[in-house]
Symmetry: C2
Subunit: 471 residues, 2 copies
């Protein structure tokens, strides 16, 4: 089944056929990461760590289990997570005195300790992150990488002296996200979530949304301004230079294995995965085209060229299996390897190779002399090509709705005019059958103005809001 | 308090003062990994991954939670872990139909899936590993890295056609361990555990034991031969070339954050940690010795030399803080940085540096011309020095006991003569007040023979058994 005919079926099929995961684990929404999937995930984590190091965040790891007493300290937070926490109630054969939450996120694990670490303004900013798995008791339909019950998770937690410093952190987070999205070839919009959809306990929340081929938006990164909501609950205070005591201002930044899901969903095609070069476990595969009388010659050339590419620091694999070249092409296309290098007997004679780019399956010839440059150019073409193709999909599916019946008909990203009142937002959601993503902080193109009056109440002035169907 | 006067107090103090962990998390036996501790742990993990890649193991990740129905399939296994498993019984506000074990180890998570992955003899050997956290409801006294309730854990699981192939895997595991122990400067003995102390479900178990300064042995790596015990319970079968169906033979190999504990305990001294160069987050620290009139000159030289060392691929840090040189010396000694490079105004004039090795605090002079070589030599001296020092402790504390009253008096590793019967082993444990580590598969030196007759029943022939107090 192809991607365009039956999207969900296609998605569920290729995540297994490409060797990313095995879905047959006997708990719903918990999957086995197979070696290829784990390599892809590790490569994405490595990009995140690169960005964290560049911006002077320290990596830490807090325990998985959180005593209920700590978990319940921030009222909105516990209310928001109450229905989706897994609880440990027994240790061995004993009932525990205090149930332990299996972390759905780590505010309540970290902040009692932040309270001990932060004494003075000289301890600020505190910028820490961890990459761990989190757990949510999802009752909705699960989908690999997109909605799971064990979630591979990144969370940065920062503490600052002032609200303004925390705002600067959020600007830094947006810049970090733009670099990660670039490496993953993902065009995105950033929205300030409406009041009713912000993170439980946050002052406000930003979400970076990407558009999948079924024209639903997938929240791929979130950045939260907590103000002093948590620091008040957890008594995280610092002494100012004037010796007064103030509450710290906090932010968080979260991402997850949804990034893997976004890459699969947005770049994949009927042939399987198409992986961005920056994170592909195998960036280049070399396939010898072997005929009986040329076997030795072709393999010798392949070994030589393979070494040349590997020594250039490119993740390359030489496929020497006994199967036919056609079988190998299909196999590596399913796995989404961005660039294929083919070497047959005539190529050996002519001291050339054929290079095929995965996203458009175009073939170019290159001399072995400029092999590494030609491979790099092809990797670059995939990088740019993937991003541009995804961008065109977003542009083609961004609509200005002049009234709510149009908003209901459009699919994709729907721009409407909104006075900002909660009740009008709720009218949008009901009448358009879509969620309010929020007010866009960043769009793909500077958007044209929409109607000046709110599409729900008719009042002015109003601002743009984005609506979409979401996961 | 120094290491020799009050060992436990010393240990508990330096794991926090050196910045490895914070013990103030509100659940007993669950600690916070601070950035320095996490870097050390990550460096050890990197060595493990290097060894796994070298020996063609694939990295995977299985879910944390295991349905009780799967967990209970191998009878000895569930009996062995019953009392120490954390159980998830609720998802949100609902009681779950089937309680979920928080993995204490992953046999029961993996093997139902291995059953699906293995069809034919061509699927074997299957060699997989994961690095995850495991959980045990410890009721004994906890100690950082040594006995904790959330355990950073490595587990390799392999499947083979025959018992002999599985035995070859165990030889490979022992070779892998010897390389890891070399990098960590840890001398060790390997023992085949007695029947009553093997892993629940194993056919036999090997344990690699290291001797800590309080003369107790710490089990640091375990290798298990499962034979077909688990494959029968989980129906892991393969088709032979003759088209018959056979059960797979299985092994596992486990290590944990105890490796961090062993490094802290064995190499540390009154001044703090002493880290093996192969895993030290900072291998070299450069400390400028600054006087007001020479500030610029010394710092400029330091920057230059720092770059030279860094470009050689050595993990180096330049300490430009405002504190005194003496404060910095103490600080980096506490953190166990193996090599310190000091640069003062006279050193700049003479184009030399002073190099201090952490383990013996000896100072040597080196010309800036051969800076990198001199630093490498010093790192090598720490590597060799740490290992040799630890080896001497083991040799000095290995005793041949000629009767059980001697075995009771000796501390450290006590060699006795054992006929091999369980009841005699139990007599040793009772009369000597020590555990039977098992029959040594590998000792530091080819041991002298002990009495030929079993020290419990007097029967011959008998073999050597090692006794010790354990954690």
């Amino acid at each position: 089944v192809g991607k365009s005919e039956a999207y969900s079926e296609w998605y569920n099929r290729i995540v297994e056929e490409s060797g990313l995961i095995d879905k047959r684990y006997p708990i719903k929404g918990m999957n086995v990461w197979r070696p290829y999937g784990l390599q892809l995930r590790n490569n994405i984590d490595a990009i995140i760590r690169r960005e964290m190091t560049r911006t002077a965040h320290d990596e830490v790891e807090f325990p998985l289990l959180i005593p209920k007493t700590e978990f319940a300290k921030e009222a909105d937070h516990i209310k928001g997570f109450d229905a989706e926490v897994f609880w440990v109630t027994h240790g061995g054969l004993n009932q525990l005195d205090i149930p332990l939450a299996v972390r759905p996120t780590s505010e309540t694990a970290m902040y009692p300790i932040f309270r001990l670490w932060i004494r003075s303004h000289t301890d600020l900013p505190l910028k820490q992150f961890q990459i761990v798995n989190t757990f949510r008791y999802e009752t909705k339909h699960t989908r690999p990488f997109i909605r799971v019950r064990e979630i591979h998770f990144f969370e940065a937690h920062t503490c600052h002296s002032t609200y303004e410093d925390a705002e600067l952190q959020i600007q830094e987070d947006l810049e970090i996200w733009s670099r990660i999205a670039e490496d993953l070839c993902l065009p995105y919009v950033v929205n300030r979530r409406p009041e009713w959809d912000k993170f439980p306990g946050a002052h406000y929340s930003l979400g970076a949304d990407v558009l999948t081929p079924e024209l639903k938006t997938l929240q791929s990164a979130t950045i939260h301004q907590y103000k002093t909501n948590f620091s008040k609950a957890y008594e995280i205070m610092y002494e100012t230079p004037n010796e007064t005591r103030e509450y710290a201002h906090q932010t968080t930044y979260g991402m997850s294995e949804r990034l893997v899901g976004a890459v699969v969903a947005i770049h994949g095609d009927d042939k399987g995965l198409v992986l961005p070069p920056a994170v592909a476990p195998v960036q280049v595969v070399m396939v010898p085209i072997i005929f009986d009388d040329s076997r030795e010659r072709v393999l010798a050339q392949c070994e030589k060229l393979f070494s040349t590419i590997r020594e250039a620091g490119i993740r390359v694999q030489l496929d020497k299996r006994e199967e036919t070249a056609g079988f190998k092409f299909n196999d590596w296309e399913m796995r989404g390897v961005p660039v294929r290098v083919e070497v047959g007997p005539k190529d050996v004679d002519a001291q050339r190779v054929m290079i095929v780019t995965r996203h458009d399956r175009r073939k170019v010839e290159a001399s072995v002399e400029r092999l590494v440059d030609a491979v790099r150019e092809s990797l670059g073409k995939v990088q740019v090509g993937l991003k541009e193709r995804a961008r065109q999909v977003v542009l083609a599916n961004t609509h200005n709705a002049k009234d709510l019946s149009e908003a209901a008909k459009f699919r994709g990203l729907v721009r409407v005019s909104w006075c900002g009142k909660v009740e009008c937002g709720k009218v949008f959601e009901e009448k358009a059958g879509k969620s309010v993503l929020g007010k866009p902080v960043k769009e793909l193109e500077t958007g044209k103005a929409v109607q000046s009056a709110c599409l729900a109440c008719g009042e002015s002035p109003s601002e743009v809001a984005l609506l979409a169907n979401t996961y």
